[in-house]
Subunit: 326 residues, 2 copies
């Protein structure tokens, strides 16, 4: 198996290497690319040292089985189509291709069937969306999801190294805002991305659009408020969901427990500080919402793992099994 990672030195790129290593795959080739300023950085796959190289158009003329992109929308738009022409599957973590009708937006446990015999670019969804749709999809089949109201508590690592650096500097006394519109230390900021005419931010709009696309249910409406909080790793969310049919709580718990990549906590809850290396979407504090046709729960996931790198690697893993590479 021949793999490349573009944006290998970022939060998500490094985690992609870790997630690949956790699968313990025998790789024939792992090439790591980044911008010129990271050229020569040494990263490790299991015990193998790999030198990071500068990304050029020529880099991507090599044929890979899988090329991961985690380098932002601009790089993805410029380079992913080149990689897709030569290699089999390009898995892009940016939002560049997510809205394109011909590009699958995949959470393998929900719509992994879209990967069957597919080649080209696959889009990896938004971090907050992935950890929310995993449990919602498990409930949708039986109860018919109609409406979601979600509020997020998103970690600074969702902005990459510079988000983590900004918070750490402020904790050491800096009063500079860094990459955020306001100081994030000892604060919460109700803005992720930029605001659209609707009053929603781009991050909020993603949670609405991507939920429908991943679940293939055009009727679902998601009202999201996305908020940055001074947490390093682990996105949290309060999810309120209305369904077509009446819910029996013990049955809802059973459905969630049988869902892949979902972990249910009964009589306890998880906080983001306790997320560790989990690759699961955690559900706790499950209870009725405003009536017996609605539920609400506390949803925590590692934003760099299940919200990004682990889902991307899961896409690769399923595609490799479907195509007989594994």
């Amino acid at each position: 198996m021949r793999i490349a990672i573009v944006g290998a030195t970022g939060e998500v790129g490094r985690m992609m290497i870790s997630c690949l290593a956790e699968l313990n795959l025998e790789l024939d080739l792992l090439d790591l690319f980044a911008s010129a300023k990271s050229e020569g950085t040494m990263l490790y796959y299991l015990d193998h040292p790999i030198k990071v190289r500068e990304l050029t158009q020529e880099s991507l003329l090599t044929k890979y089985d899988y090329v991961f992109f985690s380098a932002g929308g601009g790089i993805a738009r410029a380079f992913a189509p080149i990689a897709a022409d030569v290699s089999e599957l390009v898995i892009d973590n940016s939002s560049a291709f997510r809205r394109e009708d011909t590009i699958p937006l995949v959470v393998p446990q929900i719509n992994g069937d879209l990967l069957l015999s597919y080649t080209g670019i696959v889009a990896n969804p938004n971090c907050s969306t992935i950890q929310m749709v995993l449990p919602l999809a498990a409930l949708d089949n039986e109860y018919g999801l109609k409406k979601v109201v979600v509020s997020t508590y998103q970690a600074v690592s969702g902005s990459g190294h510079s988000g983590v650096d900004t918070l750490k500097k402020q904790r050491r006394g800096s009063t500079l805002k860094g990459i955020y519109p306001e100081v994030i230390d000892l604060n919460v900021i109700p803005q992720i991305g930029v605001f659209l005419d609707s009053g929603y931010s781009t991050e909020e709009e993603k949670m609405d659009h991507e939920t429908r696309k991943i679940m293939r249910r055009d009727e679902i409406v998601v009202c999201a408020t996305t908020v940055r909080v001074p947490v390093l790793y682990g996105h949290s969310a309060t999810v309120y969901a209305e369904f077509e049919r009446e819910i029996e709580l013990t049955r809802a718990v059973a459905l969630l427990k049988s869902a892949e990549a979902v972990r249910v906590h009964e009589n306890s809850y998880l906080t983001p500080l306790a997320i560790g290396n989990s690759n699961e979407a955690h559900v706790s504090r499950l209870r009725y919402g405003t009536d017996k046709r609605s539920l609400t729960f506390w949803n925590v996931g590692h934003n760099v793992r299940i919200g990004a790198a682990a889902n991307a690697v899961n896409i690769m893993h399923l595609h490799a099994k479907q195509s007989g590479k594994l």
Copy 2:
């Protein structure tokens, strides 16, 4: 005017003194009471030093116009009825009396008419509830509020001095949980109070019950998730509200702008770190929710001021005007 404050050395008690001072009232008497361990503490009303005395049953045999209690439910249950027998109005900040049918639960801008000719105990509502119902009541008259989904981002000062101390110690490196069920520094904790059989916490249940009682609208349902965040002062909340009737956004903004103690931010938003000494409930990021019959907004208030001390002093102020003392 003769006033006493029970629990004068706490976060809310000290703020009650500040809020009284901001009214610049000429007081004939201001007595300050606290537990034995705070006896002798010197506090200031404007430039007047006042020595804190230990609360005893005898303390409350003096006749006051207004006695403020901010000393927890146990002290309130034991001492507020004694004060109410002797003095005119007892304003209690605890949850001890809020559910009693004969005790008014007052946000003066909404149901201040209940204070007319009233003597005895008045309950001051929960902090998160006050800052939320102020804008919701302004919209309810015209649109008919039906359902609320609210998620909070609550500051540690909501737990008093010990909440602030806990966060400050953890920021200096302590790994002890302090007064919270988990470490709060670099974390968010979806538990305030204790959990009931419904799966809701006592804090969440208060937001549901108190909203109905203050707005005198039994049909309203509130689904709350209350979350502690590492912020010192200022509670934030995402509020999603469904109404009977279709909403025109510019009209909704006008209604909110004309509401007392509500501040609307258009094309900007407030974060808790910027709350300063505001005694208002702030509304920003107002937009449609899931359709034209629903709204969602970002709601910030100073939890010790509008959420506690300022509302209590507003109760006194309105009662004093109604009864001709001012």
